[in-house]
Structure formats: C-alpha cells, structure tokens
C-alpha cells in the first residue's frame, strides 16, 4: 500500500572506481507524472555520473522553475544544489562556478525556463562559456500549468485539445550554435544508448555544453498532433552522430575507428569519439552545422547527436584570468588582502 522505492543492495552489485554503487547516485523518488521523459533523463544522468565515478560532493546541481527544474532532486542526493527563481539558473550557475571552479556543474532547465523567461540568461551563459552541462529537458509545453504551447513548440503542431500552434518555435540547438556555444548536442529521452555517452562528453567538455533533450510530456504532449511525442520523435529522428567518451586512462581500441570516426581530444586527456552516421556533416564547422540542421528541419526531421563542438573557445575562467584555486581553498589573507591592498589597487587606477 505504500509508494516508496526501497534501496536493495543485491549480491554481486557492481561499484565504480570510487567504490560507489549506482544506487548512490540516485535521489528522492520522482513526483513527476508516470512516464515523463524527464525521469528517463534523470536515469541517464545517474548512469553517466556513476560511470564517470564523479564524487557526489564534487557536483553541483542547479535549476530554475518548472517540471524540468524539479529533476535535480531526483539524482545524486549527496551533491550540492540550488533551485533558483524562474529562468535564473544561469546566473546562479555562473556565480557558483566562478567561486568554485573545481565543482562539476550541471544545470537542468526546460524549454520554458530557458527559451521564454530565461532566454536572456541562456544567451549569456553560453557567451561566457561557463564550464557546465546545460541540459534542457524540452517537451514543447508548459506542463505545470496544464499544457499551453511553449516557445519550443513547432508551428503547426497541435495541443492536446486540438488547437494549432501559430507561432514559430525557438530552436535551442540553432540558437546555441549561433550564439557561439562551444558544445551543442541534441538527444531524446527515449534513447538511453545515445544520451548517456552524450552526457558524459558534455560533462568532460571544458566549457558550456548545451544539450537539448526532447523529453515527451506524457500528460499533455504525447498525442497525435504533437511533434514531441514518443511516437513522433522515434519516427522523425535523424541520427547524425554517435558519440563515445573515452576516459584518459582507457585505451582506445582500434574497433572504435570503424567507419568515419574522428577523435576529439579534450584538455583533461579524455577523448570524445565522433562516429558520423551522416557523411555530409561536419560538427566542427558552424556554417555546415547550421545548414545541415536547417535542411533536415525543413523536412520535418529531428537531428540528434553531438551537433557542434569548438575546442578553441576559451572558458569563463580563462577569459577572466581568475585564480586557479577555488576561492574556498584560498587562505584568508589572499582572499581578503585588506583595505591597504584595496587602496593600492585604486591608486593604480587613477
């Protein structure tokens, strides 16, 4: 008669490099609707973080408002977290990661939180290239207010009651690429095999990695006229790229190079392997990527995979020439050199 998920440690349970079980990366039980795509994304995050052996205390989860923004409560209960006001997650994330650059930042947002109320903030966190995973759980509707169209709803798609959306949609991926993002991908909550490596690559990427994950709303947007239903996405998906993240310690096997495969070495020594499914696609050239996206969009196709990566964009800390040590680890004298030092600084600016 109860509704609680028990923790069961079975014989033969696997642990990762830091001795933690998959269960240790879980959070509270989801209160989202049964069948919500967001829960699948949560599970993919749990899987990816466990596989990467990220210590929970090294992680900070941030969000704004919305169904999507509830999800940080549902993974890694041992991590830090901040649930900010609507659309303001990027500011909080920027502050948190400016203060402690050693943290691994995950911001979970939704189409409303990022493409409507928080659209301005979304642009600027990309522009600053804050080192984080910026994950948009994109379902095309305002689920918490009973299913109105969101800014990502496609023109011509219908609401659950049959109303047709007249407005053009904001395409999170194209927007991010055109704003100069260094890492942009799209995936689907119903494809764990694609999503988990993509999340891992996004976390390893030293900059702002935007992942737009189509996440069907079972309650308000899983009907026939929807372009974000489980059935529609499965039917119209175009996989442009498959991704693998190889950790710095792992050996890169020759078998990975089957077909048209490109390794992208990251600063931390790990490697993202890109295996092109579609040969006329180059994820390192912005105009090619945007053109490719537009061609497939006009055919009604949803392109998924790692769609754009630029390793040469410097991140916030490099741009600002900040101190390498997280502020919390600086001795008090260095962090706060006193009024004399301030005076000296101000004199220098005269």
């Amino acid at each position: 008669m109860t509704y609680a998920r028990p923790r069961i440690d079975l014989p033969g349970q696997k642990t990762n490099e830091i001795g933690l079980a998959l269960h240790d990366y879980e959070g509270s039980l989801s209160t989202l609707c049964a069948g919500c795509g967001h829960d699948s994304i949560t599970a993919a995050l749990v899987q990816a973080l466990w596989e990467m052996s990220i210590a929970p205390e090294k992680l900070i989860k941030m969000s704004g408002i919305g169904c999507s923004s509830k999800t940080p409560a549902y993974f890694v209960h041992g991590a830090h977290g901040f649930n900010s006001v609507h659309g303001r997650m990027p500011s909080v994330a920027t502050g948190a990661l400016a203060g402690n650059r050693a943290l691994i930042g995950i911001g979970v947002s939704g189409d409303g939180d990022s493409l409507s109320i928080g659209f301005g903030q979304f642009g600027h966190v990309i522009r600053r290239n804050v080192n984080m995973l910026y994950l948009i759980e994109n379902n095309g509707v305002y689920g918490l207010t009973k299913g109105q169209f969101s800014a990502s709803a496609d023109a011509g798609s219908t609401s659950k009651r049959g109303e047709v959306n007249q407005m053009q949609n904001i395409n999170a991926v194209a927007t991010a690429i055109s704003m100069g993002a260094s890492f942009v991908g799209r995936s689907f909550s119903g494809d764990r095999e694609q999503l988990v490596p993509l999340i891992k690559a996004a976390i390893a990427h030293p900059g702002c990695a935007v992942l737009d994950v189509i996440s069907p709303c079972v309650t308000f947007n899983d009907h026939q006229g929807s372009t974000k239903s489980y059935a529609y996405v499965r039917e119209h998906r175009h996989k442009a790229m498959e991704t693998d993240l190889i950790s710095p310690r792992a050996e890169i096997k020759a078998s990975y190079y089957a077909g048209d495969t490109h390794p992208v070495r990251l600063h931390d020594g790990s490697t993202i392997l890109l295996r092109k499914v579609d040969p006329d696609y180059d994820p390192t050239r912005r105009n090619n990527a945007l053109g490719f996206l537009e061609r497939h969009r006009s055919r009604g196709e949803i392109v998924t995979g790692l769609l754009y990566i630029d390793q040469n964009v410097t991140d916030m800390h490099t741009q600002s020439r900040t101190v390498r040590t997280p502020l919390k680890d600086l001795e008090f004298e260095r962090l706060n050199p006193g009024s004399e030092a301030l005076e000296k600084l101000q004199l220098g600016m005269k």
């Binding site: 008669m1 109860t2 509704y3 609680a4 998920r5 028990p6 923790r7 069961i8 079975l10 014989p11 033969g12 998959l22 609707c33 049964a34 069948g35 919500c36 795509g37 829960d39 699948s40 949560t42 599970a43 909550s189 119903g190 764990r192 069907p216 079972v218 309650t219 899983d222 489980y230 059935a231 499965r234």
Partner: protein
C-alpha cells in the same frame, strides 16, 4: 528469443518459487497474506486444500519451499514459511464446518488402503467426499504411520497429530487397527474396486559389521523410535552413539537425551556439506549439546562378554572438488566407548506380504514398478503412494502422491483412462485499487528472518513429549509475514500498450527490466540492465513493441514484486495481478463438477 507464453500456467507458477518447490503446490504467498490479515481460518484452509495436514507440516515439514524462496537469494535467509504455517494452524478457530463431508449416499465403490500414514489418509480425504467407501488396514493400534512413531512427540505433539487425522477419519472411514495385511492376494480376493498401498518404508537399514549381533544394545533407529513412541522403551545408556546423519538420526539423538543419555554423539562418515539432515534439525540437535563427529567411518562394534563397550571407527580424509568427493583415504583408527548404539543410516520399503505372482512387478531392487504419473502398479487397480512407491521421501511428497493416486483411483473406478489428466489452470486478477494503492503489502521490508524461540534446556528434558518449539509470537509473526515478497502477485505485461518511455526500467529497484533488441538468449542476456545471476530463473520476453520493434525483457530472479513498474507505467502496460493456480484433484474429475468449487476452495482471496 520467442515471446514468452504467459497464458501457460507453468510460467507464472515457476515465478512463485515456494509454490513451485512444494510437491503439493501449496499457495504459500496467499496464506501468508491471510495470516498478515489475521485470517487464520482462511489461511489454514488454503493450506489444507493442498497439503491436508497444515498443523503437522507446520512443525515437521521437510520444507522444500524454503530453499527455493526468492528471499533467500536476496538476503541469505528465506521466509520462515513453515513457521508461519504453524501460526495459521495454532491460531485457527473451529473450522470443522469448512471441512469436506462425505455424502450419506455412497457411490458403491470400495477402496482398500494399506497403512494409515499420510498417503492413505490423503487418499481417503480426497475420495470420501465423492461417496467412496474407504477401508484402512493398519498394523498398529493407532493411525498416523511414521508421523506418529518416527517423529518424536517433542517435535510433533500427539494432540496436534490426532486432531488432523480425525478430520479425515471422522468422514466415516472404516479403519481396522492391529490388522497387518499379511497377503496381498487375500486382500485382492475381497473384491475391492481398488487397492492403495501406503505402507511406507518401514525397514531400517542394517550395518553388518563385526559384533553386530553379539549384544542387545544396538538398535535400528526407526524401530527404536517406534518402541519409544509406544512406550515399550523408556531408558537408554548414558553414552550413546548414533550412526548416520539424516533427519532420523537427529530424532534419535534428541530422544536419547530425553531417556537419560548424557553424552550423545552423532557419527558421520563424511564432512558436514554432505549431511542429509536438514540444517535446522542439525542446529536444534547441537543446541541440545549433541556432538556431531565428522569423517568417522564405522568399522567394528566392540563387545566384550556380551556387553557393548564401544565402536571403532576409521578416520577418513576426502578430496573434494565442487561439492563432489573425488577420492578418500583412511588415515587412522579410533575407539569411542559407549553404552548404546542407534543405527540411523536409512530405510527402505519392503513388501514380503505381496505375492510375486499377482501381476505386481518389482524391479531388481525389490521395489514395485509404479507409474510416475498415475501411481498405478503393473496390475490394474493397484496403486502405490508415499514412501512405499519410490522409497523414502517425506510427508509432503506422500500427500502429493496420494492426491494423484486418488485421481487415478477415481478414473479407474469409472472405467476412464488414467493417463488423461486435466490441465493445471490459472486465473489472473488485478490488484490495483487506485493511485498508489495495491491490495497487497507491496513495500519491501528489509527485516531479517525471525528466530524461533525454544523451551529452555532445563525444562525440555523433564518429559518426553514436551514440545521444544514455542511457535512465533504476535510480533514475530507480524515481522515475518512482511518478509514475503508476494511472488504470486505477478507483473503482467501488455505489449500493445507500451510506449517505451522507460519509466519502469528507471524505477525498478533491482534493475530486472530491460528494453532492447531481440536476439538469441546468450546474446540477449549480454544487454540486460543487470547481469543474469541465476540461469535457472525464467526470463520473460515480450512480443515486439510497436514503436521501435524492440522487446521488453524481465529477469524474474530478483523481482521483488513491489509493483513500482506498474505504478510508474503511464499506460498500464504493466499491471500487478494475482495468479491463482488450480491443480486438479479427484473432485475436479467428477462429472458435472468441472467448474465446481471444492469445499476447501470456498474462500475469498487474501
């Protein structure tokens, strides 16, 4: 892999490990739920329907269900199923009005039953309500067979035994006490429509070593226990050696302690892992300070001037690999003094009273040739069941043999083919009540198995029949029932409803679900969320799912039947449904009663 056919009752039956492990297929989770609700009468009747002797078996069953229990695979100790059975029996009210009754108008068929043990009693239990006239011939002055004289009263009190035997005899069974059947020919000549042999395996095995017949202080275990039960023996020497390490040996050593022995050793030829005795019986004996000595092979009884002095043993050493003895070696010899020896090295069935020219054939080991489905001997109309059929097993097997033999007897008496058996049937019924509500206790309770409390040692030996086990108290019962995982509340999947949202995969606390592309078994198991640990456990594979043509796969091994998959399923593709399995008994073969309810079955589900 081919899609799993869950309409075949065998699939879901196998998921209910305890019910699958039980020879009589007792609906264990069902009666545990009834106990949890305090419905002891109902729980008792669910038991009685299949195993006929719940109060007896609640104390002394061999418990094949418990090693099978899923809980044992998850946290070492299975649910204390047997103890809970006793709870139902001990706390039941008057259930006599729910027992089967024999009609006053008989069907004119007469059945002779040899021996009043569990097998014959069960045949009578099944056939009396159908109008048969059953006559039991019993060599002793009381009914019960080995349940009475091989199991000591400190494990099975006489009143408990009498009550359940009387339930059957009170239907009007004719029973001839002190009537040992000396000739099968004579019995057959009396014109019975069928004869059932349930005479057990009454002959204890001998140990023909030097000195065996030079003293009167060497006893055959089961004969000795019988003499104790009938109060022909009331004492034994101070130092006793029990040879053999099966359950009879455990009864012998503990009985010796109650007859005045102070130093009792159980002598085993092999190491502990090869013992035949149930673990709990070994533990109970050791609790009473019985010493169990391993790797001692009997060599000689040392008798001086007609007086037993002790025994010599060869000290053994074994080479063991993967639980098998590859080689053995004698490393020495030892003399152990004693006053009495009890031999408990096995028993066998024996039929000196069956003439060999009656068409009842025996194999070279002098065992009757009995059909494993119909329990008929090579002579039509003669049936065997219990230990007399295939050698020593246990009570619950005897009961199941008898259920099957009763069906055969009924078919035989009506001139119908014995081999044509009704199929097992299954009903599935949803347990969903509403949002987050299931009509069973679906939460997982991590509690450890409750321990049975025993009468203190100093009280135990004051009288022979003092029952040692106290039974579970209310608190223990309340905890133990929650340990049951309700394996009979099945996860039923409707593939056409699935939208492949992965919600069930994500919520499953044991990762037993996977959606993946289909393939051969070896290939498929590589892609499951959690590794397959028990290859004997069933794997459920759905039909192709409509969106991606992948399949839903479920490894039944660690499913805890918590219902969270059904809880999180937005389309009700998963549902939790009680599998009520029905195993036909003789009453189901009565014409016009095909869908009729058995007297015991008039119950509401728990």
């Amino acid at each position: 892999m081919k899609p799993t056919d869950t309409s075949n009752p065998e699939y879901f039956h196998k998921v209910v490990d305890c019910q699958w492990g039980c020879p009589a297929h007792t609906d264990v989770p069902e009666y545990i739920r009834l106990i949890a609700q305090g419905r002891f009468d109902d729980a008792y009747m669910v038991n009685r329907e299949s195993n006929v002797f719940p109060a007896i078996l609640g104390r002394v069953c061999d418990r094949p269900c418990e090693p099978a229990c899923r809980r044992g695979r998850m946290d070492e100790k299975p649910v204390a199923i047997c103890r809970l059975k006793r709870v139902a029996a001990d706390h039941r009210g008057d259930i006599t009005d729910r027992l089967p009754v024999a009609p006053t108008e008989k069907n004119g068929k007469k059945i002779a039953l040899v021996g009043a043990g569990p097998a014959s009693l069960t045949v009578a239990n099944d056939l009396m309500p159908l109008g048969y006239e059953c006559t039991i011939f019993e060599a002793q002055s009381v009914a019960g067979g080995l349940m009475r004289y091989n199991i000591p009263a400190f494990r099975l009190p006489i009143e408990v035994l009498n009550e359940e035997i009387d339930y059957i005899l009170d239907m009007g069974v004719e029973i001839h006490y002190n009537h040992r059947v000396e000739s099968m020919k004579e019995l057959l000549d009396q014109g019975y429509d069928a004869v059932f042999v349930g005479s057990g395996a009454p002959r204890g095995k001998e140990l023909k070593l030097p000195g065996r017949y030079d003293t009167e202080n060497i006893h055959i275990g089961i004969d000795w226990l019988e003499s104790v039960a009938f109060e022909h023996i009331d004492s034994i020497g101070k130092r006793v050696l029990i040879v053999g390490v099966g359950n009879t040996a455990m009864d012998c050593c503990r009985t010796s302690l109650r007859l005045g022995a102070t130093d009792v050793k159980v002598m085993a030829r092999k190491p502990r892992e090869f013992f035949k005795a149930s673990v709990w019986e070994l533990e109970d004996a050791e609790e009473e300070n019985v010493e169990i000595v391993v790797n001692h092979s009997p060599k000689e009884f040392v008798v001086e001037e007609g007086k037993l002095k002790g025994m010599t043993f060869e000290l053994m050493e074994y080479v063991i690999e993967n639980g098998r003895i590859l080689d053995q070696d004698v490393t020495g010899e030892v003399f152990i003094p004693c006053d009495d020896v009890v031999l408990a090295i096995g028993q066998e069935n024996a039929f000196p009273w069956i003439e060999r020219d009656l068409g009842i054939e025996f194999n070279p080991w002098e065992e009757p040739m009995v059909d494993e489905v119909t329990y008929e001997a090579t002579r039509k109309g003669v049936f065997f069941g219990g230990d007399s059929a295939f050698g020593p097993k246990n009570i619950i097997w005897a009961v199941e043999h008898a259920h099957q033999a009763a069906i055969s007897i009924h078919r035989h008496c009506h001139g119908e083919p014995l081999e044509d058996r009704l199929p097992d049937r299954m009903n599935l019924q949803t347990r969903k009540m509403g949002m987050h509500e299931w009509s069973y206790s679906n939460s997982f309770d991590p509690a450890a198995r409750r321990k049975m409390m025993h009468v203190p040692l100093e009280v135990r030996f004051t009288e022979l029949g003092k029952e040692v086990e106290l039974g579970f108290d209310a608190e223990q019962t309340a905890k133990e029932v929650e340990r049951c995982l309700n394996c009979d509340i099945q996860t039923v999947f409707t593939d056409s409803l699935c939208i492949e949202c992965d919600a069930c995969l994500d919520i499953c606390p044991t990762q037993c679900l996977t959606i993946t592309s289909n393939g051969e078994r070896e290939d498929l198991v590589q892609r499951l969320m959690a590794p397959v640990l028990e290859h004997e456990q069933p794997l459920f594979v759905s039909h192709e799912l409509k969106q991606t043509s992948r399949v839903m796969v479920k490894d039944e091994n660690f499913c805890i039947h918590c219902g969270l998959c059904a809880e999180r399923c937005p389309t009700a593709a998963w549902d939790m449904q009680k599998s009520l399995l029905e195993f036909p008994q003789a009453v189901d073969y009565v014409r016009g009663n095909e869908s009729g309810k058995r007297p015991c079955q008039q119950r509401k589900a728990g």
